[in-house]
Symmetry: C2
Subunit: 194 residues, 2 copies
DNA sequence: GTCTATATCTAGATAGAC
DNA sequence: GTCTATCTAGATATAGAC
C-alpha cells in the first residue's frame, strides 16, 4: 500500500489536537485520544511532533492564526468606524457561541500553565497582544474619524475594552450564557459615550 | 510515640494543597507533592481525604470562605458608600498582588475542568456567584445613598463591574503587572459617573 | 492515627518490521 | 511514512504493621 500523503496526515493530527486540547484542556488530553480521533498510529504522531508539548505548540499557532483571521475579517465587514470599533467584541461573541462556551483557548492555556516562562504561556500571550492591538487600532481610527470622538482617551478606552472582553469571555465560560457578551457590548458602547 | 493531633494533621494537608493547587493547578499537582510539602505520609492523606478530587474540593471550600471573608472585611473598612462600592476591585487587587499573579483560583479551576457538571466546577462557580452578589449589594447601597446616584442602572453597573474585575484578573495573570487592576478601578469609577 | 512498602494503572515515548 | 508491540516513568490508591 502506498504511503499516505504526508501533509494530510499531519493535518489530521493537528485537527484532532485542535478539538481535544480546546475542549478538554492540555493536560487532560492524552496522546491516545489524539491517536483515536485522528485515526493515525502512535509512532506517526511522534514522527510529525517530537513531544506532546510540541504538538500543542503547533495547535496554538494554528488556532492563533485562524482566530485572528476571523477577527480581522469581522473588522473589515464594518462599514463605519464605530462598527469597526465594535467588531472585536462582536467577533469574540460569535466565536464563543459556536464552541459550547469553553471560553478562550489562550486564557485556558495560561490558566493551566502556571509558569510565565513556559513556551506555551508565551504562545498564548502573543494572541492576547494581537487582540489588544486590534482593539487599540479600532479606537484610534474611531477617534480620528469624527471631532465628536476627539476627546477619547485612547489608552483608557482601549484597555477598558480589553478588560471587558476578557471578563465577558470568562463569565460566558462560567455561566454558559450569552448575557456577558451582550453586557460587554453595551459597556463598550458606553466607553465612547454612546 | 503519641499520635499527632488529628485536626492539625488535616490542616497541614489542606495547607499544602492550598499552596500547590493554587500555584500549579489541580492536574499538575500530585499527591506526592502534597505528601512532601505537608510532611505527612501517603496513607494519612487518604485517611483524611478519600481521593485527590475530594482533597481539592476541601481546598476550594476553604479558599472560598477565606477569600470572601477578606473581601467582606475590605467592604466593611470603607467609610462611605462610594468606598464600599469600590472595595471589591481594591480587595481583589490586593489579593492578586500578594500571590505572584497566579490569578483567581476559581477561574483557573473552571479553565482546567471543562465539564460544567463536574463538582469542582460547581464549587468554583459558587465563589463567582458570591462575588457578583457582593458587587451588586454595593451598587444598590450606593444608589440608595444619594439622589445623585439615583439614576444608576443597577444591573448594568453591577454586571459591567463584574466583567471588569474578571478581565483585570485575567490580564494580571497574563502580564504579571498591576495596570489591569488600576485600569479596572478607573473604569469602575466611571460606571457611576466619577 | 500514622507509617513503610507495594499494587495497579495510565500515559508519554521508542524499537523494529513493512 | 506508517504500523504493531513494548518500554518506562510516574501517579493514584491500598495492605498490613505499629
Amino acid at each position: 500500500m502506498a504511503p499516505r500523503d504526508t501533509s494530510k496526515t499531519k493535518d489530521r493530527i493537528i485537527q484532532a489536537a485542535f478539538d481535544l486540547f480546546y475542549n478538554q484542556g492540555y493536560q487532560a488530553t492524552t496522546i491516545d485520544q489524539v491517536i483515536e480521533k485522528s485515526g493515525v498510529s502512535r509512532p506517526t504522531v511522534y514522527t510529525h511532533f517530537s513531544t506532546k508539548e510540541d504538538l500543542c505548540q503547533a495547535y496554538l499557532k494554528d488556532r492563533k492564526a485562524q482566530e485572528l483571521v476571523d477577527l480581522k475579517a469581522e473588522v473589515r465587514k464594518g462599514t463605519t468606524p464605530r462598527e469597526r470599533y465594535l467588531a472585536v467584541i462582536k467577533g469574540v461573541g460569535k466565536a464563543l457561541w459556536g464552541t459550547g462556551f469553553r471560553g478562550c483557548a489562550f486564557f485556558n492555556m495560561i490558566s493551566e500553565i502556571a509558569d510565565p516562562n513556559h513556551p506555551l504561556f508565551h504562545e498564548a500571550r502573543q494572541y492576547v497582544d494581537a487582540v489588544r492591538e486590534l482593539i487599540r487600532d479600532g479606537v484610534i481610527d474611531l477617534k480620528a474619524s469624527d471631532p465628536r470622538y476627539g476627546k477619547i482617551d485612547v489608552d483608557h478606552v482601549a484597555e477598558s475594552y480589553y478588560l471587558l472582553v476578557g471578563g465577558a469571555i470568562m463569565a460566558s465560560q462560567e455561566y454558559r450564557e450569552k448575557w456577558p457578551v451582550k453586557r460587554a457590548l453595551r459597556a463598550i458602547e458606553a466607553l465612547i459615550g454612546d
